[in-house]
Amino acid sequence: MRDFLKSTRFKILLGFLAFLVGIMIYAVTKGGYSVSGASFINTITKPFRSASNGISMKMEGTVDKLSNADKYYEENQKLKKQIGELNAQLTEYDAIKAEVEELRKFVSIKEEHEDYMLSQPCKVLGYVTNDPFKSFTIDRGSADGIKVNCPVVTAEGLVGITVEVSEHVSTVRTILSPDLSVAAMASSSSADQGIIEGSVLASENGRTRLIHVPKKNKLKRGDLMITTGTSGLFPKDYPIGTILDIGIDSNGLSVCADIQPCVDVNRLTSVIVITDFSGKKEEDKDED
């Protein structure tokens, strides 16, 4: 031992240890930054370490999966259940959100037209089977103050009119039907008036028609047609649809136009019925 302590080997090792301590002290003084040697080593060994780490992680993962399979299975089931619950909540939330948006639109109708007496929002129960003019039933009836020939609307525009009312269900005839005629005028000029009436051809594309317009008119594509309210069946100035094409009627005496309704009648989920408005005709048995 004494020989070793006196040997050159011991002195060299001691010197090396001192060098290491020196490095350590130097590293302390760097305040968290790597010394250049460490940085160099890190840079050189990075890809190898990364590869080996990847392999070892994979192996560890496999071993972990095998050894903790039951635990993971349970956890998985639990998470699946949680996801199911969250999805249900999300669906509910979406439905409520859609409902709130719809209600907000209906509130805007009341704000814009204070004279309207509106029903509660009505859900569309379903479309009348195989009806080419898309009549539909709603979940409100005479018990909710709805009568025959009440206008049916959404915030976007006129939908149709109630034609059959029972206590809790009503049937609505839409503006696509040739059996419903609505007096209309252009929103830009009240002089340009006509009748909105559905047709077989137009209803195939979810459109309706404007007929009996005098030849001298200022109508153009894109004009918004609104109700005139002269018949007392529909409120005044309610949007119906916009003009798509203008042409001469088959009788050659008047002008007609294709109308794109403001409301997509084929995809309604809820509507509102105007049970009363200023200018409403009392004996509302005849159609507009």
């Binding site: 195989n130 040739p178 088959s250």
Partner: protein, 192 residues
């Protein structure tokens, strides 16, 4: 002379009741299918009513036809009773034709159903569209009525299969006495 034991009578009643419950359950399901969605759909209640009519007695057929008709009126928004009259008539006619002239075979049922549903679609077109003289009204017949008729005829195949299954399981068979069996056998041999 038929001899039915109390047990046989009980089975007969049970099977008949269950069969009718299933018939009406099928009618209800068909009604729900017809009322859902916005696309054109087959009028499934027509083949169903005809299918029930050809295997049961004439009164039950008429009543079932009328009920199916009322349901069609409700879901198709027609005058309440309009289809009930038509379908009750079809069911009575189908029942009589099958009792007197036709055997209970698929092809016969198919032809009768096709004819009945065509008449129903045609009458519907006549009374609800053509009579009012709408412009281009012929398009409704070509694009709506015929389409619905074809769908109905196709659906009748499935309706027949379901009814066949129900009848096979729950239609009570007549029990012959030994005497009746022998007599029937002798009669058939004599015919040969």
């Amino acid at each position: 002379m038929r001899i039915r034991t109390t047990r046989e009578q009980r089975i007969f009643r049970f099977k008949t009741t269950l069969r009718w419950i299933i018939y009406y359950l099928l009618i209800f399901i068909s009604f729900i299918i017809m009322t859902s969605g916005t696309l054109y759909k087959p009028v499934i209640l027509v083949p169903l009513a005809v299918g029930i009519a050809i295997n049961n007695n004439i009164y039950a057929s008429a009543v079932t036809g009328a009920i199916c008709g009322f349901l069609i009126d409700i879901c198709c928004g027609k005058l309440f009773g309009y289809n009930a009259v038509i379908l009750a008539f079809f069911c009575i006619a189908a029942n009589l034709v099958f009792e007197l002239y036709l055997k209970d075979r698929f092809i016969n049922y198919f032809i009768i159903t096709a004819a009945a549903s065509f008449l129903q679609c045609w009458l519907d077109y006549k009374f609800y569209y053509q009579i009012w003289g709408y412009e281009n009204v012929g398009r409704i017949f070509r694009k709506v009525s015929l389409k619905i008729w074809i769908y109905t005829v196709i659906s009748s195949v499935f309706v027949f299969l379901v009814l066949k299954l129900v009848n096979r399981l729950l239609m009570p068979r007549e029990h012959l006495t030994i005497e009746e069996a022998i007599n029937t056998n002798i009669q058939s041999e004599n015919r040969r």
